[in-house]
Symmetry: D2
Subunit: 371 residues, 4 copies
Amino acid sequence: MAIGIGLIGTGFMGKAHALAYRSARAIMADVPEARLSVLCDMPMDRADAMASQLGFDRATDDWTALVADPDVDIVCITTPNGLHREMALAAIAAGKNVHCEKPLALSLEDAEVMAAAAREAGSSTLVGYNYIHNPAVTHAQRLIADGRIGRPVHFRGWVDEDYQADPEFAWTWRSTRSEAGLGALGDLGCHLVSMSHLLMGPIESVLADTQIAHATRPLPDGSGRGTVENEDTASALVRYASGAQGTLCTSRSAWGRKNKLDWEVHGTRGMITFSQERLNELRLYVNDGPKAEQGFCTILTGPDHPPYGAFCPAPGHQLGFGDLKTIEATAFLRAISTETSAYPDFTDALAFEQVIHAIDTSAREGRRVSL
Amino acid sequence: MAIGIGLIGTGFMGKAHALAYRSARAIMADVPEARLSVLCDMPMDRADAMASQLGFDRATDDWTALVADPDVDIVCITTPNGLHREMALAAIAAGKNVHCEKPLALSLEDAEVMAAAAREAGSSTLVGYNYIHNPAVTHAQRLIADGRIGRPVHFRGWVDEDYQADPEFAWTWRSTRSEAGLGALGDLGCHLVSMSHLLMGPIESVLADTQIAHATRPLPDGSGRGTVENEDTASALVRYASGAQGTLCTSRSAWGRKNKLDWEVHGTRGMITFSQERLNELRLYVNDGPKAEQGFCTILTGPDHPPYGAFCPAPGHQLGFGDLKTIEATAFLRAISTETSAYPDFTDALAFEQVIHAIDTSAREGRRVSL
Amino acid sequence: MAIGIGLIGTGFMGKAHALAYRSARAIMADVPEARLSVLCDMPMDRADAMASQLGFDRATDDWTALVADPDVDIVCITTPNGLHREMALAAIAAGKNVHCEKPLALSLEDAEVMAAAAREAGSSTLVGYNYIHNPAVTHAQRLIADGRIGRPVHFRGWVDEDYQADPEFAWTWRSTRSEAGLGALGDLGCHLVSMSHLLMGPIESVLADTQIAHATRPLPDGSGRGTVENEDTASALVRYASGAQGTLCTSRSAWGRKNKLDWEVHGTRGMITFSQERLNELRLYVNDGPKAEQGFCTILTGPDHPPYGAFCPAPGHQLGFGDLKTIEATAFLRAISTETSAYPDFTDALAFEQVIHAIDTSAREGRRVSL
Amino acid sequence: MAIGIGLIGTGFMGKAHALAYRSARAIMADVPEARLSVLCDMPMDRADAMASQLGFDRATDDWTALVADPDVDIVCITTPNGLHREMALAAIAAGKNVHCEKPLALSLEDAEVMAAAAREAGSSTLVGYNYIHNPAVTHAQRLIADGRIGRPVHFRGWVDEDYQADPEFAWTWRSTRSEAGLGALGDLGCHLVSMSHLLMGPIESVLADTQIAHATRPLPDGSGRGTVENEDTASALVRYASGAQGTLCTSRSAWGRKNKLDWEVHGTRGMITFSQERLNELRLYVNDGPKAEQGFCTILTGPDHPPYGAFCPAPGHQLGFGDLKTIEATAFLRAISTETSAYPDFTDALAFEQVIHAIDTSAREGRRVSL
């Protein structure tokens, strides 16, 4: 019996969800089939066209109908962040499993309500922190857990893009706190926090600064320039519950960075580094063997780094962005079918997002903020 | 009306074909839907299991039935190379379109027969030289065609893996010329020739050497060591019809190389280089602007390099191996629906494979071989 | 008339000074000859041996004699940091020019006294921030000054080594604040600040955290473990006088990093990045030309990046660490002969070192510290 | 008693020799002092100026006087290749040690005469194949000798620059076979052969092709275009005495390559690769340990790779081109003082240069040439 997918939204992430669920079983074999049941978008002809393209059984322009649809087991929410709360709460209330894009919501309060609702309802939930499902990253996680680099003592991470690097890039609602919430932290920073959490465990406190690099942007109607209200860059000094320390940095105005999501874990016996723009590579340095032969080893992912082998039996052939989303969808299908929990669920994601809001608070108030 | 796919073989390439055709329309939008109609493998329970996993309507263990099936518009042949000829000829005779994995056949004679049959029948054919469909590579092709690096005067290419680098890797039928045909040239070298052809045009003559690096390998039954009959490495000095020259090198015994398929095009105004293990990057040097600022530019593919944008609207998010196969399948679906020809068809592929056989001949006879 | 060099200390930096002054004129041509006059080390036989090896006219084990020697025009101070103040003050009092290794002194107070003395005496001074003399770095400085990447809005820098990464590395006086002063900040961090200053101008305030990653180390006499008093890592959020922001990070416990001194300057039109472990390369991204061709350009230094050409007329042949020191010594010889000032002199260096002390203060007091 | 240096020529290589001998003992300690005795160049005022700059005792414009000078122990020959023979024979006849730049001579016949003369006279000689003295390269040599990558079965090498990549670069005597001899092979290719020899042992035969990419070049007097007579590129298939095979390629018309001298050694247990434009790095892959952790290790040279430590006690601080020349000069000073032989002497270098001439012959005659 296939698991029915109801997808709200057909932008970048909507399409990514559809493709991932379409292919999950064909790729992974040992996972339940997903059936693309209902697609919701507006206007209706867009919904129809995308349902046809992506292979959904039917389309709607009424998300409440989708949420109520008995054929829908998983509600995928890929709409603008400000809509996540209402949709997720409705889906939870309707007894659905919810796969929501990150960040959970505009405000931490909304995210808390969502997580609480999911916990109370016992819903299975998953949040779209797709980068942590990369076989290179989960291999790093295993290496660290196995003590390969000793005790992790320091972490550095960066997540940068350049989509707002051009000062003449137009002002949009994304520049407002009321409609968009956080800036680079909400778009990008939370991905980095998810990596940090996976590799280093929870953060205990942050001390941060943020920056609006481009104070105004041209209004799209040509009537002058609008004020940018949310941060272009954010940087935080973090302390982990483990006693480790680190820095987390993000920018949406970093020319040349297309999907930089880089990090390094400093351990007492070695170091691991990773760069998302070369997502099939992991670099490992271990203080082992002759000094004259020590160096960073560039490991190319392959079948020895599961679930790479489900995509391709030959190493070094490279996974892509869409493949990471497929691994994520697989995790949810498995969790639902085995009634276990997927990672990161709403509660896990709330913990990530508390960090980005704490960074924002620290920067605004000029003080260390505890979590 | 969907285009029906009949797939023979469910190994590495079989699965890759299935996944590509499953997703092509969902990703590309403006391409006909493909329907996974019939899957053939042996034994029957394997065929059934894979048909279920990959989403085929039905399974068979009789490839002749698949070829004859009226629901099948495209016959995908992903079986061992020695079987290609018989299957392709039958499919052509049945009036099907044929998507065959590379190389076309064990021997050049077989490949010639296949290409002739396709031409005579007016069949649409496509051969699985998937790497040339990479947006980075087709961007390079455009740059060269536009004269961005001037007149191409020299080419260097390498295609290396390490799957036979271990001297204790067991002897198999792949070590025999009778069953496997060429060694590294057939497995890997032909991919390089496809790149060379795309970027530099046809090769006029070759002067080559080959090497069996591991003369014997342990027999799987433990009874001693078997003789390796085909080449572990091949290297060729080539002259192009354009007057350019170059070198083509391949090895299946190159430790550390997982999918190296690298090349550089030397032009009179610049240079382009590419490395398959970083398939989302192109490096371009142009003799333009201030000397103090000249250098190789690392271009990360994105929506400016079509059809990347069909997979992801954000640059730098990376395509994977499977995505290249989807672009290839898309090309065939489009060709069939518009009754134009796809590239490379059997005749195009024959030209590539004539080169690897000429390299083999040159090496065995110690003389320059013209094409 | 050659400029006489009196060198105190023959360790890593002492030898580097000697080699640099020996070769400066032979390499640069248009710079006064330096004569290696007096070398001071202890004990006397070590001084004699090193004077012979390095080519000094004579040796002494009494640095006060060296400072008083009429043949000495430049006093080079390469002794442990705790000795810099006394020696520099004596040299200034004796009317000498002073070339002192970084950091100026253990404490900021000592550094202030030294800078004040130099200013009052009108001495020519230079501090050994050799990395900023790299032609790649000064080329970056020019590119920024020329507006090639627009207005610099953000800076990130890291300076890491692994010489104290091993938890079992023995405890020494370097672990104490009384004898060694700061830890990673004093050894490494100040180099990064010198880069930041050169490229971004003065820092206005810092908000920082530091970490002792290895709380104790084995005592060399085997009697147990000694307490480490100074920082293994430091991280700072900085605000520049220009309005830009950034982060500065350092670690002496970063496995695999041998001389990482990396930075990136984010501008409104582009980005420049640099990595000291590949000191002959600069990476430049500019939002110019067709989007499909944009990427980071790796510029290899050559004669177009002066004074590279004095070392080698051919590009890409690579300068080494010693060559940077030669450029530094040349700057001082020229400054002295033209009675202009060299950069960075004691006052300039004091500004760098105020930053590392502000970072330390901020970390200890948990508050933003203004400069 | 210092060893007296007589240097003929003050271009790129002349200066490099002077700097290397000036600093050798200061850097290396356990090597005899070299004294810069006599410098020869023309006209006399150039000789005087350079003698002053470089620190020679005296200057001359008569090389025969230099060769006869009793203060001269080593005659360094850095003049155009066509002059090497006469000068070297005179120096050998005068009982001098000879340090000659590569290649030995325009023609193989001249080189043979020189090698024979040196052998007969029992002269100590050295030829300037400086790149093989790189600590990274000699470390690779040790790794191979120790069996770290098993039996070497294949070699690939490239040496490329772009100094003649521009089709409008003016015609000079360097374009003629009579005055310049070989083209890219003589300038660049012989360096690659020296690497190949060091790492793989002697070459037994070659099969090659060459190319004149730019058939004519503008005459400097504006009177039209002159014919280019020697090769812009050369490529060879080589067989080693050991049974290994490989390819050697060179181009002087490869845009973007400034000092590419890259190679890879394929062994039965691993691979080593090197790139001259990153001369302080060696990449090593060994089939050891868990498959999931295998990858190319980037080794940064340091004190564990002698004689790096003589230049700098800290790893990763980078040697430069000049430092390689210093290591070369040191080898000669040591050889002379211990009456042992330096590598490569005239006879060794002759073996390298026989290979480039064999490549030229093979290309002209279209047949495999044995050595």
